[in-house]
Symmetry: C2
Subunit: 426 residues, 2 copies
């Protein structure tokens, strides 16, 4: 069961919009047991769209077209599908009535140009759109089923879930979704993660591994037809990664920290410098954050580190603001002043310029808790956004490890086998 | 001058990675005067990659392939390009030496598997990779030039800018980049922006307009061959949008606020509730932020609104935490306690549950300045992330308007002509 995706829209080729629909559909179909074998982006041009859809239909069992179904003159997917099928467009009276109703509900007249949304290639069926105006289409090209959905992500997603997937399941009874396991890892570099994981996968037939890296984090995605084998490999991976494995599935670092805090009815307060609010934003990202998050202070101006967090002015004068002792004092200060079980702090140089002789990428994080203060540092490459994001991961992981009672991350923890290091060049 | 893009990698079809490289290259090439006519994603399979590259070369003057150049066995772009050209792969001794040097520098031996990165299809030239290990390739397929670049974005971008673009310019002397103007708009809904802009573009031949929407913000992208006409239309758009137009080009909302503050040597402090640090993070996102940003307090726990910001406990008891008077008191309190020229505050219900009888999406923002306190409110749909992002835009725009001496955004400001509202269905 093979599917191809065709996305329609000049804005995708101009680079104004990233084709997130293809990734979303790729994940949806993969998880449902459909192999996505190609994805194409074409401009708003009838002949090019028709050509791409015909080629895709020649190769695949199903084709999903997104975009080009709206009311404006550059929306040409209806015309292109009619051309691909060699049929005429007819205006569907029922769809036209439904459109008029929908427009009337929001107090807008249904102009001639918008009535085009009721056009359907002969032989095609409309796919209902419950969250927008433009209906989708389903039609046959030879033995291949073709679905056309709007490009607006929220509309496309609802229609793909409610209509396309059930329809595909009915047509292709043999669809069997692969088993999938995600293992989330903090701070270990991607090549080191791969070096640890590869030998565990090598001997296991039919298990596929993909690494998804973002600053400070790697997600290992294991999949295969045999759920027992995949689960088994995932256990091996978790064991090999030890405390560097943050969680599985949806258990992101911030979610795990929130859960660990909630389990012991503990709370956290945050003192930030270079991260400027990002650690607090991460800890308030999930529903129910108020149960574990007390509040935060961003002390960007050096004097505020003393005024708001009680950091000793002498220490600041002696060491400048970027110093492990300052991070430790900030963590202890915010814990105390905001009445939290734990205090977390960040300080460092986000760039682009060095500060007080310390290079860009220098980061100090600290956690203050009932048993005292732990500080950690890192120095790495990256632009301002990457340095800030790495500092967030570093701070949250230090707290996570403290909550678990394991030592802070140490590069020696997963030195790996250099010979097997896998480069990330995709 | 037409170009096609081919991205190689199972991870793109599985939906694990969004094909951001295509959007980035689309923008780079469009801005350079190259028309990108198709973008294809193919799996890690020699025959499929070769087929896609040959088809693209049949249609276009240039093809850029990304991905599949790394050292692991699933990196197959070299083999596919050799197959597409009908030539053999040869190992390049110079490249192999350079690889060995690069690996030695980081203390890693160059294994056999990694030596594949020195393989080059006969007749192809290597493209230097200064930020990674895998070199790129350039070869001819008939009259079409094909470039292969690594899929790692940072490597791909450097190579595209330093090598591919100059090489294309040399080959296609007639490349003439279109003139482009971006106009950034805050808080006005996309259909209303389109309704305002469309009549200004309608009469102007050869000017193209694209709308890029994110929560609370719309960027209007105007482009065309005639720079004078495009600039002229941009002036009309700026005039029509009035104070809702935040800036042009790279002038994002946070950058504009930073600039306006810096121009008058003013500073800002932030008090956050539902945004949990995101307003502060936005105001510290740009280099030089410390000149205008004093610090922030996230007072998630209600008691901290009193302890840290001096919000009257009686007011909190009477009105609950989500109230315009609380936002105003937070703004005034943070301005006072952190010693800033302006205080900005947010409070509201991010969801997923209503709070104190107030529905999800309720947001109050306030700005305290030398002339007093201004508050504003909004209620709108959206999930937790969207509600938080909208609140950030709302807060920053309120400050921007105060700095400019114009009233807060009012929906009546750009009511638009309902008949001309343009749907966003792509």
């Amino acid at each position: 069961m093979r599917a191809e995706l065709v996305a329609v829209g000049d804005e995708l080729l101009l680079g104004d919009v990233v084709n997130g629909n293809a990734a979303w559909l790729g994940r949806l179909l993969t998880d449902a047991g459909v192999e996505v074998t190609r994805a194409t982006v074409v401009p708003d041009d009838v002949a090019t769209i028709a050509d791409a859809v015909r080629s895709a239909a020649d190769r695949a069992d199903a084709v999903i077209v997104t975009g080009g179904l709206g009311p404006t003159p550059d929306d040409l997917t209806r015309e292109a599908l009619a051309a691909a099928a060699g049929v005429a467009l007819r205006r569907d009276a029922g769809l036209e009535e439904a459109l008029a109703r929908r427009y009337a509900e929001v107090g807008r007249p249904l102009l001639a140009v918008a009535r085009r949304q009721a056009d359907v290639p002969s032989g095609a069926l409309p796919v209902p759109n419950e969250t927008g105006s433009a209906p989708g289409l389903r039609l046959a090209l030879g033995r291949t089923v073709v679905y056309a959905l709007p490009g607006v992500p929220v509309e496309m997603r609802v229609m793909a879930r409610r209509y396309v997937l059930p329809d595909l399941r009915e047509r292709f009874a043999e669809m069997s979704p692969p088993a999938t396991r995600l293992v989330r890892v903090a701070l270990v570099p991607e090549p080191v993660v791969a070096t640890t994981v590869e030998p565990l996968v090598a001997g296991r037939d039919g298990v596929r591994v993909v690494y998804l890296a973002s600053p400070g984090e790697v997600t290992v995605r294991l999949s295969g037809a045999d759920a027992v084998v995949v689960a088994d490999v995932a256990e091996d991976v978790l064991a090999a990664l030890g405390p560097a494995a943050v969680g599985v599935g949806d258990e992101r670092l911030d979610v795990v920290v929130h859960r660990l805090l909630a389990e012991t009815q503990a709370t956290v307060a945050v003192a930030e410098s270079l991260t400027g609010g990002l650690v607090a934003a991460a800890l308030t990202d999930m529903p129910g954050a108020s149960a574990t998050f007390r509040g935060s202070v961003t002390a960007y101006a050096t004097a505020l580190k003393t005024d708001l967090l009680g950091v000793d002015a002498g220490l600041l004068a002696a060491s400048d603001a970027v110093h492990p002792d300052v991070a430790a004092a900030m963590a202890a200060g915010v814990r105390d002043r905001l009445g939290a079980t734990y205090g977390v702090a960040t300080t460092g140089v986000a760039g682009p310029e060095p500060q007080d002789g310390r290079p860009v990428g220098t980061v100090y994080v600290a956690v203050a808790g009932p048993e005292g203060v732990t500080a950690a540092s890192r120095r790495g490459p990256g632009d301002r956004a990457v340095v800030r994001r790495l500092a967030v991961v570093h701070a949250l992981d230090l707290l996570r490890r403290q909550l678990l009672g394991v030592p802070p991350y140490d590069e020696a923890e997963h030195a790996g086998e250099p010979d097997r290091t896998v480069a990330t060049d995709g």
